[in-house]
């Protein structure tokens, strides 16, 4: 008779496959936010901008060794591949295996560090302790000085979370679903409160630590890269306005570094989940990220972008264009005079180009040619700006006109490339006109038979 001992002897390759496969739905793979020079002895440093080392075939970056400690789980969240009622192969890494993989991959410049999450083994505190022990080993025995991102397990003993916080660069608690209601239906074992508690704890820890660092320069850093979270988009019926409001309050009240959005992929086929025949809602996810950037770097507020009456983003226009065509009274903006905040609100002008405009106009009056050099996307910006009082082309400041022009280009690319078009069909579009005239046709035409 065979016993379960086989599990311990599972080859590393197979374990890595199973545990990477279970971790792949976690979005965060950033290695940013910490600038730490090497200490000349131990391996590793961190670069503030983060470094992506590779890109997988879905176009997402591979920056960290993103794995689960174990995919055994006592919870039964309906959307999760690793839910306890799902019949998938299970595996568990030993701390040593994780450390060895991390260090050997890092040496070869495959990765920027480790991203460690886990299914819940026995209970949250036990799992968190396993994570802590692994990271402790990695930092103190393997002397690894690179980037480490771990998940804080909701419901775990705060003391373990605190101790882990001093070893890692970033910590995150997954919000999972945007509203408490959604959580109740799809993740019966998780509660909004137990998710927000560790989030608050980490936030307070970071603030406290910042004050400490001012006083004592050599105090250990607590979660130096800040806190992040993620939520699943499209599994529950929330609208974009709700989601964006949740994100905004997370940024303001919990001081998060990043909120990630994950287009829902139906992996379990549970009957309470939407079927999504058109694939995951990627465009929706994209629009949310665009809006997220507007919140964080462009000084927008959630209620400016969406409201109760229009709770979803425009499919054709990005959120900034959408906002601009609805607020034409604030345009055109004079490039040579407008303050930074107004430059940032022009579609086609990003943070970098706005900064460059402000710097360059000190030395010269800018023209449209100069804007092109600076990197402004004139295709989008030209409807909203003037240079020295002139617009680039004689365009009308009129909502319909601008929307038509902004979307026309996109339409042509999206629908024109494969011969499909939203344009009205004309007589000459009918295929028969394109067939070559044959000799038989000519004779028929000559004798009047056509």
């Amino acid at each position: 008779m065979e016993f379960l001992t086989g599990r311990q002897e599972m080859p590393l390759m197979e374990k890595l496959g199973i545990l990477a496969n279970s971790a792949k739905y976690d979005v965060a793979c950033t290695s940013s936010g910490v600038d730490r020079k090497g200490n000349g002895v131990d391996m590793g440093n961190c670069v503030a901008a983060g470094i992506c080392h590779s890109f997988s075939s879905d176009g997402r970056c591979i920056s960290l060794l993103k794995i689960l400690l174990t995919n055994e789980c006592i919870y039964d969240c309906k959307y999760c591949l690793n839910r306890c009622s799902n019949d998938v192969p299970r595996a568990t890494f030993t701390p040593d295996e994780i450390c060895r993989l991390t260090v050997e991959f890092y040496r070869r410049n495959y990765i920027e560090g480790l991203f460690l999450s886990s299914g819940i083994l026995n209970n949250p505190t036990f799992t968190m302790e396993l994570i802590f022990r692994t990271i402790w080993l990695l930092r103190n025995q393997y002397r690894f000085n690179g980037y480490v991102h771990v998940k804080a397990i909701p419901g775990a003993d705060p003391e373990v979370i605190r101790r882990t916080g001093f070893l890692v660069d970033r910590m995150s608690v997954n919000l999972e679903l945007p509203t408490a209601e959604g959580l109740r239906t799809l993740a019966p074992n998780k509660h909004r409160k137990s998710i927000l508690t560790p989030m608050r704890q980490i936030q307070n820890g970071i603030t406290e630590n910042r004050n400490e660092l001012v006083l004592y320069r050599n105090a250990p850093t607590f979660v130096g890269g800040g806190q992040a979270t993620q939520m699943i988009i499209g599994a529950t019926p929330e609208n974009d306005y709700q989601i964006l409001n949740v994100a905004e309050s997370l940024y303001q009240k919990f001081d998060l570094k990043r909120v990630f959005y994950s287009a829902f992929v139906n992996v379990t086929g549970d009957k309470q989940l939407p079927a999504l025949p058109g694939g995951p809602p990627l465009l929706r996810e994209h629009r949310l990220y665009q809006a997220d950037w507007l919140l964080r770097f462009y000084g927008f507020k959630a209620e400016e972008l969406l409201d109760e009456k229009r709770p979803f983003f425009n499919v054709m226009l990005d959120p900034k264009e959408d906002w601009a065509v609805r607020h034409l009274e604030q345009f055109p903006v004079e490039i040579n005079k407008a303050p930074m905040e107004r430059l940032l609100r022009i579609p086609g002008v990003g943070v970098k180009s706005a900064r460059r405009i402000v710097a360059a106009r000190r030395s010269a009056n800018l023209t449209f040619a100069d804007l092109k050099k600076i990197g402004v996307v004139l295709k989008r910006a030209l409807y909203f700006i003037t240079c020295s009082g002139r617009m680039m082309y004689p365009v009308k400041l009129e909502e319909d006109y601008i929307v038509r022009n902004l979307t026309e280009e996109q339409e042509r690319i999206r629908f024109g490339s494969d011969g499909m078009s939203y344009r009205q069909m004309s007589l000459f579009d009918v295929g028969s006109f394109e067939q070559p005239v044959t000799a038989a046709d000519r004779i028929q035409a000559a004798v009047g038979q056509l």
């Binding site: 670069v47 176009g59 070869r108 410049n109 050099k373």
Partner: protein, 255 residues
């Protein structure tokens, strides 16, 4: 009109800039050329590279414009672009004339030369960034980490500070296959560059026993981490251009 004829090296180009100021040339009517292409009605001056003059120029550029802009100028000069010397020269002239402070050298993007130098430096900077991501080391059987790169621009020297900070206790080397250039970092010591000549063929590599295993593990990991429902090869190629892939573990065919 005066034309300074230089070779393609930092030393030579910075010496030319030094000479242009020392000999009080009219900067609007002076040209630094890296080729021998004749220019009508111009006085040719052949520049003899001078280390001391280079150091003087580099020191003052560093002092006046700050580390970041100084590095951008150096990056621009690592490019393969033929107009780089002229662009950098006129950018420096513009910066000194307008009295720009540290971090503001490239402010005047409306100026064609400044924009040119800025654009060249940006291209090189991007390649450096890419290679910082995509360099893949292989462990040889003597424990040395070896990586080959084939960059468009001469960027090896810009990669080394990053990697020697990151892997201080490793013996590693990066080989620029296009230029026959080796950058070598002995464990715990300062790194250095070494020219091996152009016709050097790829040395037969004996990789260590573990190496094959870790390469396989990483390749498998890259395969497993992708979400099939989100498959998007176009995006992957935007982020990771094909030209880098031939030297990357996860894209190489090891059969």
């Amino acid at each position: 009109m005066t034309v300074y004829r230089c070779e393609d090296s930092l030393e030579s180009i910075f010496t030319a800039i030094y000479l242009a100021y020392e000999e009080k040339r009219d900067h609007m009517d002076t040209y630094i050329s890296l080729t021998d292409e004749p220019i009508l009605f111009a006085e040719d001056v052949y520049v003899k590279p001078d280390q001391e003059k280079m150091n003087k120029v580099m020191r003052s550029l560093y002092r006046i414009f700050g580390e970041q802009d100084y590095m951008s100028l150096c990056m621009a000069l690592a490019s393969e672009d033929e107009g780089k010397a002229q662009a950098v020269y006129r950018t420096v002239v513009d910066g000194l004339f307008a009295g720009r402070r540290a971090g503001h050298l490239f402010d005047n993007l409306a100026n064609d030369h400044v924009h040119r130098a800025f654009a060249i430096a940006r291209v090189v900077g991007r390649e450096i960034g890419h290679l910082r991501e995509f360099v893949r080391f292989q462990e040889l059987d003597n424990g040395v980490l070896y990586a080959r790169i084939d960059p468009k621009n001469n960027v090896t020297a810009f990669l080394m500070p990053h990697f020697s900070d990151r892997l201080p206790q490793e013996n590693f080397m990066i080989r620029d296959g296009q230029r026959g250039l080796f950058a070598i970092h002995p464990a715990g010591k300062q790194w250095y560059l070494f020219y091996a000549g152009e016709q050097e063929t790829e040395p037969a590599l004996r990789i260590s026993e573990e190496e094959q295993e870790y390469q396989e593990l990483f390749r498998y990991f890259c395969h497993k981490i992708a979400i099939e429902e989100r498959r998007n090869l176009k995006l992957q190629q935007n982020m990771l251009p094909l030209r880098f892939r031939k030297n990357m573990t996860e894209f190489r065919d090891n059969k």
